[in-house]
Symmetry: C2
Subunit: 190 residues, 2 copies
């Protein structure tokens, strides 16, 4: 881990605070004062580091969430020997994370995706899901599926997992994630 | 259609306005003044008809959305002869509705589900999805599947469709819904 400069630490504090607030209460309800308060950063630093204000911070928070989750998923599936094992590993890490947050932290992007009306944020959300879909398709293809089948399956897997995260959060239960995991497993092993 | 009394019309205006605002901007950003303004109802009527304020209105709006969509889905699948046809009919009505709203109106409950922190609203969201899951399982069972398989498949179908609505909205494309429809069709016809 390289040491961050003071400026980088301040930027990270602001982005982390934005991510927490977006996940907890969504885009519309998150104001700049709340971001500064949550971050503990000096008030003047926000427009110094993020001249684009709330939209620039929201885009940075979404991108950071994508990078962090990519690392977590990669670590979780690293040892999986086949597609079924990969699915199980992803479902387990998502279910454990949601349960550990007392069913509060779902997908860090979904809530913003559904209610933000900012074009810049919408584009960041689009890039986020497009990248995930590509990553999933590429991972599936390494297990021998042809590209069109892998792309189709990636869309279905991403949709099913996003929906299962929503239902799991609502029901405060891992069951929807496990049901979707079993169905995806059956799709790839038949 | 029975005629509504003046009081019923005012209540409906307030509930309709709440539904529009919740769908457009979520729970946190929706204030009582905005609801009154959007509804065109007299300011004093809100607490007269909804002494529980925003939470009571939000619960009524979610329940109304459930009733309306149940009627639309029932009408769409009425003629379907098998499970595959039923899936196609549901996917078509959801995809057409989302496209017709210029990709703005997704699931009327999902946005609120992901960002509301009100216990009363959370319970309404839980009831909403539990009812949908039961309805889907009952519909599947009419085509001859055993109860446990039907319940499991209902969870997967609901999750996949919710996730596909999210991705379709983000991508401004029916493709995720059609991909999920084809996958669900393959699951039930193999």
């Amino acid at each position: 881990m390289t040491e961050l400069t003071k400026g980088e630490r301040t930027k990270k504090k602001l982005v982390d605070a934005t991510a927490v607030l977006l996940r907890r209460q969504g885009y519309h309800a998150t104001g700049l004062s709340a971001i500064v308060d949550e971050s503990g950063a000096p008030r003047g630093s926000l427009y110094f580091y993020f001249p684009g204000g709330k939209d620039e911070l929201a885009v940075a928070a979404l991108e950071q969430a994508g990078v962090e989750w990519r690392a977590r998923i990669d670590a979780a599936v690293g040892d999986a020997k086949d597609l079924g094992g990969t699915i199980d590993a992803v479902i387990t890490v998502l279910a454990d994370d949601l349960a550990a947050s007392n069913w509060e932290n779902g997908c860090p992007v979904a809530a913003v995706a559904l209610e933000s009306t900012s074009p810049a944020v919408h584009e960041a959300v689009q890039r986020h899901y497009a990248k995930w879909q590509e990553d999933i398709a590429a991972r599936i293809a390494t297990f021998g599926l042809a590209k069109p089948a892998a792309t189709q399956l990636a869309t279905v897997a991403l949709a099913a997992v996003e929906g299962a995260l929503l239902l799991a959060k609502v029901q405060r239960s891992k069951q929807p994630l496990h049901a979707v995991g079993a169905a995806l497993r059956a799709m790839v092993t038949r």
